[in-house]
Homo-oligomer: 226 residues x 2
DNA sequence: GTCTATAGATTGATAGAC
DNA sequence: GTCTATCAATCTATAGAC
């Protein structure tokens, strides 16, 4: 933890790291302030409370992260439009996955933040859920809109679910990569690069599979609530 | 919480439920003993400590759950062998997913336990990780062995990753179903049934996609450590 | 803005009567 | 086996000196 930055930022860095490693609930303000080499009372002075500190950690990096992903999608859409043809599903997946990983590796802070995001995806703590609620949505919507152009044959409901499955596969890869990384046994960089390629293949095949034959009730055509 | 069962079992039931809902760390022994209508000191008397209580919760249902899944796979393998042909990947997926869901719905206790398993998959707490460590492995190995017969063209490494992606998709479906279920807005039973069918389609397409063209280094042919 | 000191609540665990 | 009572540790948050 560099002492050159302000107390406020050192607190955000330390919180990001410890929330990611220990989880929101298990992380104590004492551990965070100690890591930040800052007085315990500074949290209350600068942020007010522990929940507000978590919120500040999120808002600091969310914009940049989502912008990187949506930008990656936009590039693919643009070049497809310029060529007068629909975008390719595979290109969109690659853009999304690569933008995410590239951003997550752009610095140590971003790396910690990615770990925190991953954790938060399955954290059921009330505070975490609320702070994280609107995070995936704009990005997911952008992905869905782009993918709808690439796969016009899919019903809205079917596309929604397939994208959720794709997200699940992607999240699992991140989990395994992160666990191997911090778990001591180094999976070596090439293995991760290989995994990304395998992920793209898998997800692409799943998304591009022929639409399910409608077996009766078409009532499930509308998207999910959330 | 029925009062007809023993103190020990009422504690296990209550712990299962509250660990699943609040998470291991956030769940207090007071909340658990209150729910079980049992004295606070009973936890220490019957199990010794909080970690040991968690372990007892796991071991109570693990066997039955994994047996149901492995049995589902075995049935498919058997009938394929009887017919003298390799098993179908789709049948294996269906068997695995259905055995899991069927078991998870076989009773209120099993339902809670499934929620706890889901939580534990991404819990980074030391105690939870240790208690959960060897849980997925035997089942995953059975799935991998069966699937290797169905998809002999895939390299071991590639099959390993694809199965992990498939698991990720499955886990995500469970997460969404569970969140919708406990989140008030009822996704209606048919929607979940539809999701299972869509999941099977997605996963099957991903698993059965043609093997990746080996792009140079064949060093990644061995399976992952864990 | 940063510090010390501490309030106030909650936790896991246990001693000892019954 | 079950109870009451309580210890010791830990937590978030805050009051008030500097």
């Amino acid at each position: 933890m560099t002492l050159s930055s302000s107390t406020r930022e050192r607190l955000l860095d330390a919180a990001e790291e410890i929330f990611a490693r220990e989880g929101y609930r298990a992380a104590s303000l004492r551990a965070i302030t100690t890591r930040a080499v800052v007085n315990l009372a500074a949290v209350n002075y600068h942020f007010g409370s522990k929940p507000e500190l978590l919120e500040a950690v999120f808002t600091r990096r969310l914009q940049a992260m989502n912008r990187a992903r949506v930008h990656g999608l936009a590039l693919v859409l643009e070049s497809a439009r310029a060529a007068g043809r629909p975008p390719k599903a595979r290109k969109l997946i690659e853009a999304f996955v690569e933008a995410t990983l590239e951003h997550a590796r752009s610095g140590p802070g971003e790396r910690n933040f990615m770990a925190l995001v991953l954790r938060s995806l399955s954290d059921t703590d009330h505070t975490v859920k609320r702070a994280f609620e609107d995070f995936m949505k704009p990005t997911f919507d952008a992905l869905r809109a782009a993918m709808a152009e690439a796969l016009p044959a899919l019903a809205a409901n079917e596309l929604w679910w397939r994208l959720q499955f794709a997200l699940g596969a992607m999240i699992r890869m991140h989990h395994l990569a992160l666990a191997a990384e911090s778990g001591g046994n180094n999976p070596s960089q090439p293995a991760v690069a290989e995994a990304i390629r395998l992920l793209t293949d898998f997800v692409h095949a799943g998304l591009s599979a022929p639409p399910a034959a409608r077996s009766g009730h078409a009532a499930s055509a509308q998207g999910e609530p959330s």
